[in-house]
Amino acid sequence: MFRNQYDTDVTTWSPAGRLFQVEYAMEAVKQSSAAIGLRSKTHVVLACVNKASSELSSHQKKIFKVDDHIGVAIAGLTADGHVLSRYMRNECINYNFTYESPLPVGRLVVQLADKAQVCTQRSWKRSYGVGVLVAGLDESGAHLYYNCPSGNYFEYQAFAIGSRWQAAMTYLERRFENFMDSSREDLIKDALISVRETLQEEKLQISVCTVAVVGVGEPFHILDQETVRKLIDTFEIVREDGSPAPEPGDAAPDLGEAAPAAAAEEGAAPMDI
């Protein structure tokens, strides 16, 4: 993307029919750390990469509970993400108060999208610089949506946003046909593996990723670190054996030489050949 004379205002069209400011907002999403969502018939899982800027600081919160049946993961300008989460929480609470029923996910997503669209058509505003993965459950089943800064939204079986999303998507594209019937555990494992795909050099550790689940009979909540650690250990060990297990390890060629070191040790990182 290069600077040009049509990119100053969000209300200026380019001759090719593009709104550059909106596209730049979508760039902000692509440059941030990854967030991934997958869903089955009964559960939706969100996982994200949560790197702290330095050893001294805490990491930014990217997953927010919006209601018992809805949660979001964001990628981009986290501050914008906070504002949108607060809006979504408000909408859910207001609906619940009036109708004593949970707000259907599809409707919340449309409201969020319309809110984002407004910012693309006012000269005194800018787009929200955040992509939102909305995971929720309602009468019509489990849903995963992606809300774009442009005001577009789509429903997905699985999706990844943020940096190196392509790596996660490659994995997801290979496996998505099985997701609808996946068990909760397999879905979480697939999410963790997708997160790992986006961490090219690094090891998948609990300090780096956060996982949240919502499902039938299970309100939206973020999994505690202990649970996540155990899950990471399980599939790392499976991978080392090379055995098929609930989900086959990657087809990547480096697996055969995986170091015998347990995931807990600081041995050779899984991705190193």
Binding site: T98, Y99, E100, S101, G106, R107, E139
Partner: protein, 242 residues
């Protein structure tokens, strides 16, 4: 901005003539119960103007959306106003066009909010509402009063129905009534109301709502019996009276 004159006090709205102060044309009891396949609701077709039985073909039960049935007693113009609110609510619900729809629980909660908010402004909708419906196999039956008191139960009634019909229902209602038994039970309640409620008229409708939808019966009358011996010579104990 002109201030309200202080003499008007705190209990008046902008123009007093716009508030409901008393009911004028009223409907009497509505009785409803849950049965095997859904909800059965009965209401007569009378609209009273004080003690005059002025209107005799008033439909006091209406279907709302795909899943609900609303019956009302009290001021009939307020019932019509409520129907307009619900029309708009259902319209917007349909405009989402997304496979989701408001069920009876949602409509009941919405009505509760409307009634309670009006009560707080000292401008009530002078109606007692019965809201019944079925969605995804779940039966729902609730009531909202003009002051916003609301609850759900297996059988509900408004007005006189609370005093005359509910005791009968408490004795004789049970889970999984058949359609025929439900209708018989409702008719028993309506007959008592016809005998004892001055504002009842002998022309009623029974409505049923199931997963398939709403059916409102044609108006019909109940058979009554007045041949009690005490009625044949009423002045026997007080000669000269009439």
């Amino acid at each position: 901005m002109d201030q309200k004159p202080f003499s008007q006090g705190l209990l008046s709205s902008e123009a007093d003539s716009q508030r409901t102060l008393y009911p004028y044309v009223t409907g009497t009891s509505v009785v409803a119960l849950k049965y095997k396949d859904g909800i059965l609701m009965a209401a007569d077709m009378g609209g009273s103007y004080g003690s005059t039985l002025r209107y005799k073909s008033v439909e006091r039960m209406k279907s709302i959306g795909k899943h609900s049935l609303l019956g009302a007693s009290g001021e009939l113009s307020d019932f019509q106003e409520i129907l307009r609110y619900l029309d708009e609510l259902i319209l917007y619900d349909n405009m989402w066009d997304d496979g989701n729809s408001l069920g009876p629980k949602e409509v009941h909660s919405y009505l509760t909010r409307v009634m309670y908010n009006r009560r707080n402004k000292f401008n009530p909708l002078w109606s007692s509402l019965v809201l019944g419906g079925v969605k995804n196999g779940e039966k729902y039956l609730g009531m909202v009063s003009m002051i916003g008191v609301h609850f759900e139960d297996n059988h509900v009634a408004t007005g006189f129905g609370n005093h005359l019909a509910r005791p009968i229902l408490r004795e004789e209602w049970h889970e999984n009534l058949s359609f025929e038994d439900g209708v018989k039970l409702l008719e028993k309640c309506m007959r008592v109301l016809l005998y004892r409620d001055r504002s009842a008229v002998n022309k009623l409708q029974i409505a049923k709502i199931t997963e398939e939808g709403v059916t409102v019966s044609q108006p019909y009358s109940l058979k009554t019996f007045w041949g009690f011996s005490a009625f044949s010579n009423p002045t026997v104990g007080a000669e000269g009276s009439w």
